[in-house]
């Protein structure tokens, strides 16, 4: 499938000399929901801003629907909606007017029905004539989302849309994202809430220090998540794993007093019973055992730390 966004060797060095992106390459498929994760300062917003035309790239290429984002900026920007991370301090305009403005600015003919639909989907319809300056922070964020949707984008960037918002808005937003997916819109979402990526994303990318360190199907990551490990604390340290236990891919801890076994809770046989009886046969005794599971968060933190 032809990717909707294709990024090749994208670099960005800011005026001060700081290298925010180092040869990033990434493809976003049409219609997918892509979760972009990464610690503060990783370069997520920089990447999004380059794609959208707010920041200029230093080198590399970005294409959207096959058009270069600089030479074909009308085509690329026209189909992108952006909800920025920062809340701009809005003016004395009303939600309805700013949505109508956004639609016009993006070259679309007026369509009051569409704007009404968008405002209703974000529970903003009863606030449509309130001055934005008088709205709460969460409401202002809804307005930003409504603005981005008012010109019917094919690709929507949500840069930390749920930072500091209440449960209700988060659920509203998740619902909006689901319905966008059903209508074929591609959504790229950055977030620090791992469960948000778990809930929404088809694929997850992790970026750190300006480099993409992993891009993976979320389900595959979730399978990783289904893996558990069983650690046996041995009564007497051993030097090597006895031959009778070869089939279990055990790891022997550094001082020889711990055996670690990896298993998958989602498979039919965990192999724990067999392992324990095999241990009994070899005469290895243990005086304690514990199991643990890695969360997406741990996988994420592990990836990020490995980079350091």
């Amino acid at each position: 499938m032809q990717p909707v966004i294709s990024i090749r060797d994208l670099t960005k060095t800011y005026a001060g000399g700081f290298e925010a992106l180092k040869a990033v390459s990434l493809d976003i498929d049409k219609g997918e929901i892509f979760g972009l994760l990464g610690p503060n300062g990783a370069g997520k917003t920089t990447m999004i801003n380059i794609i959208c035309g707010i920041v200029t790239k230093t080198s590399g290429t970005v294409t959207v629907n096959g058009h270069d984002n600089e030479s074909g900026f009308r085509e690329t920007r026209g189909c992108i909606g952006l909800v920025p991370q920062e809340l701009p301090t809005e003016t004395f305009e009303t939600p309805y007017n700013v949505c109508r403005f956004s639609r016009g600015l993006f070259g679309k003919p007026p369509n009051p029905d569409h704007i009404e639909k968008v405002l209703r989907s974000l529970s903003l319809w009863d606030k449509k004539d309130t001055k934005i300056i008088n709205l709460s922070g969460g409401m202002k964020r809804r307005v930003l989302i409504a603005k981005a949707l008012s010109h019917e984008p094919d690709v929507l960037f949500l840069d930390e849309p749920t930072a500091g918002v209440d449960v209700e808005l988060r659920q509203d937003l998740w619902r909006v994202v689901q319905s966008l997916r059903e209508s074929g819109v591609t959504v790229i979402l950055t977030t620090h809430y791992i469960e948000e990526a778990e809930q929404l994303a088809d694929r997850v990318g992790v970026i750190n220090h300006g480099e993409v360190i992993v891009v993976e199907e979320k389900n595959k990551l979730m399978r990783e998540l289904g893996k558990k490990e069983l650690v046996l604390h041995l009564a007497d340290p051993i030097d090597a794993i006895p031959p009778g236990l070869d089939g279990y891919h055990l790891e022997l801890g550094a001082d020889g007093s711990e055996l670690t076994y990896h298993y998958d809770t989602k498979s039919d046989h965990t192999g724990i019973t067999a392992l324990l009886s095999a241990l009994h046969k070899t005469g290895i005794r243990f005086n304690d055992l514990q199991t643990s599971q890695s969360s997406l968060e741990e996988i994420f933190v592990g990836l990020v730390n490995k980079e350091r």
Partner: protein
């Protein structure tokens, strides 16, 4: 040309100005009346005529110029500075619009307002003195060209400014003195020769002189030269704006 975009910017800008419509109309009417009271009545009783025109009538073109220059600059510099300051500019930068469309929207709206204000001042002035416009078409041409070029200048100022002080200091420190020294209230032929020569380095002399010629057919410099200056200034501002969007100067990181 993406007309929906131009229209969206233009309409939003016009409605922003309409929100302050009372100030927009009352302020120029009031200040013009004050100028007439102070300059027209107090000084005009001593200087009766300049080049065959009554002093009150003589200062009208200069007063209009003074207002449309300052209004054009402040309106369009604010129009682009405010989104930059508040962060809403992200939308403009991420929209599928070219620099020409952005400029047409913002500068068009600022210039429209200036032309309207010019008309209001002319109307107010006609209550005080009798005004004959010898060349209405040329008068209108000057009005529009100068409104557009100073709105462009204001746009550049708004992009360049990184603080409120800079936004206000240029009009006060540069434009005001040049306008006052540019023959708003006098003909430069009334000055000693040295100051006459020096005045010719002030570009605003040419603008006011040309505009006044359209009214009374008397001018400090040739009308063709005035028109050339206006068009030259317009071209320079357009070039700078084009460069700003090409390089992303102070707009794109």
């Amino acid at each position: 040309m993406n007309w929906y975009s131009v229209q969206a910017i233009y309409r939003t800008e016009m409605s922003r100005m309409m929100r302050t419509v009372v100030q927009s109309i009352v302020a120029p009417v009031l200040s013009t009346s004050l100028y007439f009271v102070i300059f027209g009545a107090a000084i005009g009783s001593r200087i009766t005529e300049i080049d065959g025109v009554s002093y009150g009538a003589f200062i009208v073109p200069g007063l209009i110029m003074l207002s449309i220059m300052t209004e054009s600059i402040s309106n369009s510099s604010f129009a682009i500075y405010f989104p930059k300051f508040s962060g809403t500019i992200f939308e403009l930068l991420s929209a599928p619009v070219s620099w020409a469309e952005i400029v047409l929207g913002y500068v068009g709206a600022a210039a429209t307002k200036s032309v309207i204000i010019g008309g209001i001042i002319l109307g107010t002035a006609s209550f005080f003195v009798e005004i004959n416009v010898a060349h209405p078409a040329i008068m209108l041409l000057f009005l529009v060209l100068i409104s557009v070029s100073f709105s462009l200048f204001g746009f550049i100022l708004g992009v360049w400014a990184d603080g409120w002080e800079k936004l206000t200091i240029v009009p006060i420190l540069v434009i005001m003195p040049l306008t006052f020294l540019g023959g708003t209230f006098y003909s430069i032929s009334m000055l000693p020769e040295f100051w006459q020569k020096l005045s010719l380095f002030n570009p605003i002399v040419y603008l006011i002189s040309g505009f006044r010629w359209a009214f009374y057919e008397n001018a400090d410099v040739a009308i063709g030269l005035s028109l050339g200056m206006v068009i030259g200034f317009l071209a320079i501002c357009l070039g700078v704006v084009w460069w700003i969007f090409k390089t992303g100067y102070r707009l794109r990181a």
